[in-house]
């Protein structure tokens, strides 16, 4: 069994429990043990880099150092925002002499930058897809709008995704599980991210455009790979719908939940009951169409 470092981040412990559940489920399927970094801390998120640049490098660095001390050269970081902070921190330490000397003093640990953060899409591509083909139990006969948001594709020096303006990585995964990935125009637009609490009105406006475009092109669900995108599109749905002529009910599904369904895992074990926007109708439709197949 392969073991890799796992940095769930604060969201997967709280608001994004379904992401953690479904990710653990597909990791078990792929025979990969996700070893949680011992005593990890918050990456600092937008708050740290908005207010204090040193903190923004140091907080993620402590986690990188923990991973190194545990002997991991790969850390799965399912949250795109945490990924961005960890990867940026590693980038700064490796490329900037100033941080290379300063950071070990701050975190009171050695750090070389040998542990490489990877996104959930990297993880799926590397560990899951190869085993998927022979184990598919459901063909997910529905239309999906794959949503990347900002931090999976930008900035360029941290992203592993090609075709930044029109990435196709998630689309390929959707097609592998029998779904249809629609071509749409808002897959790399921003959802409003960290302004969720303070300027919920902005989240409403930005997410409304995203949901509206997916809806108008016939999507049955939006697939995401980031808990920030998910909570804005899902939890903030009432605020979003204020900006739309008619209420939008598109469910927001994690890519890991999608894979879980394709592998025949029970929706409840994938956390489908934890969504704010009901996934019932979508699951029902899937089930019906799967039966028809």
């Amino acid at each position: 069994m392969t073991k890799i470092g796992y940095f769930p981040g604060c969201s997967l412990n709280g608001t994004a429990k379904e992401y953690d559940l479904s990710l653990q489920a597909i990791a078990r399927f792929a025979d990969v043990e996700l070893v949680e970094l011992a005593d990890w801390n918050c990456c600092g998120a937008t708050a740290a880099h908005s207010l204090n640049s040193t903190l923004a490098v140091a907080l993620p660095a402590r986690n990188l150092a923990i991973a190194e001390s545990m002997g991991f050269d790969e850390i799965l970081v399912p949250c795109a925002a945490c990924y961005s902070r960890l990867a940026q921190s590693r980038h700064e330490i490796k490329s900037d002499e100033k941080y290379r000397t300063k950071i070990p003093q701050l975190i009171e640990m050695d750090i070389k930058g040998t542990a490489n953060p990877i996104t959930v899409l990297d993880f799926i591509n590397k560990y899951v897809l190869g085993k998927l083909k022979d184990n598919l139990s459901n063909k997910l006969n529905a239309k999906f709008a794959c949503y990347y948001g900002c931090l999976l594709t930008r900035p360029e020096h941290l992203s592993t995704i090609e075709r930044r303006e029109d990435p196709l990585v998630m689309e390929q995964i959707v097609q592998l599980v029998g779904g249809m990935a629609i071509d749409w125009a808002f897959k790399v637009e921003c959802c409003g991210a960290g302004l969720s609490v303070v300027r919920t009105d902005i989240i409403g406006k930005l997410c409304a455009k995203i949901l509206d475009d997916a809806n108008s092109r016939g999507a049955d669900a939006i697939v995401v790979a980031c808990p920030m995108c998910h909570s804005n599109l899902d939890m903030r749905r009432n605020e979003i719908n204020k900006n739309l002529a008619s209420a939008n009910t598109l469910p927001i599904i994690y890519i890991t939940q999608l894979l879980g369904l394709a592998l025949g895992i029970e929706p409840n074990k994938l956390g489908f009951d934890k969504h704010f926007v009901s996934t019932g109708k979508f699951l029902h439709k899937l089930q019906k169409q799967t039966m028809e197949v």
């Binding site: 429990k17 880099h49 207010l51 204090n52 640049s53 140091a58 900035p155 609490v197 934890k274």
Partner: protein
């Protein structure tokens, strides 16, 4: 009345500071406006990204002052759309981070941005104390700072019911180490 201010006089234009400290050249911007055209929030900003860069390019005290007092710098989501499409490869989000910390340091924060900063501060305080984010603690602290007492009251019960809220924070074992990181990082920022 201001007596002993920590605010330093503008010894050098911000653009020079930006060049020296974070190695970004605001002079590269040729005002094509592609950043503003792609920015999800330029419509909400008092100054769009290219306008901020223009003010920085002029480099006199009053323009620098306008930048540091602007609301726009606090709205930037660091989505990197501007940077990824900029023909001149100006890393504007990087510059925005610098401007925000400079704005706080020189006490020029836009009044409307105080809530955003309060949120960031509550967030960091939470991490400083426990090592991780604790939503209940964060929201409580933010509400106390801003008196937005009704913020998101409708969400909390639902989140709780779905098992997405913990009443008590998880305190990591290394929380003293985290506190020391904060202490050193803040001291360093003050010395700049």
């Amino acid at each position: 009345m201001e007596t002993k201010s920590k605010i330093e006089p503008l010894a050098q234009p911000l653009k020079e500071k930006i060049l020296n400290e974070i190695n970004e050249q605001v002079m590269k911007c040729y005002q094509c406006g592609k950043c503003a055209a792609g920015c999800p929030l330029s419509g909400e900003m008092d100054y769009t990204p290219n306008q901020i860069l223009r003010l920085l390019q002029i480099g006199d005290t009053s323009c620098d002052d306008e930048v540091l007092r602007s609301y726009g710098i606090w709205l930037c989501l660091t989505c990197d759309t501007c940077h990824s499409r900029c023909p001149q490869e100006v890393d504007f989000p990087h510059i925005m981070d610098f401007l925000r910390s400079e704005s706080i340091k020189r006490r020029k924060v836009h009044p409307k941005a105080k809530e955003i900063i309060a949120f960031h501060r509550s967030f960091l305080e939470c991490i400083e104390k426990t090592g991780r984010l604790h939503e209940v603690g964060l929201i409580a602290s933010y509400k106390l700072k801003t008196f937005n007492l009704l913020q998101d009251v409708d969400l909390a019960p639902k989140m709780f019911a779905k098992g997405k809220l913990e009443i008590f924070p998880h305190r990591i074992k290394g929380k003293e180490a985290i506190a020391r990181i904060f202490e050193k990082a803040i001291k360093e920022a003050d010395n700049d």
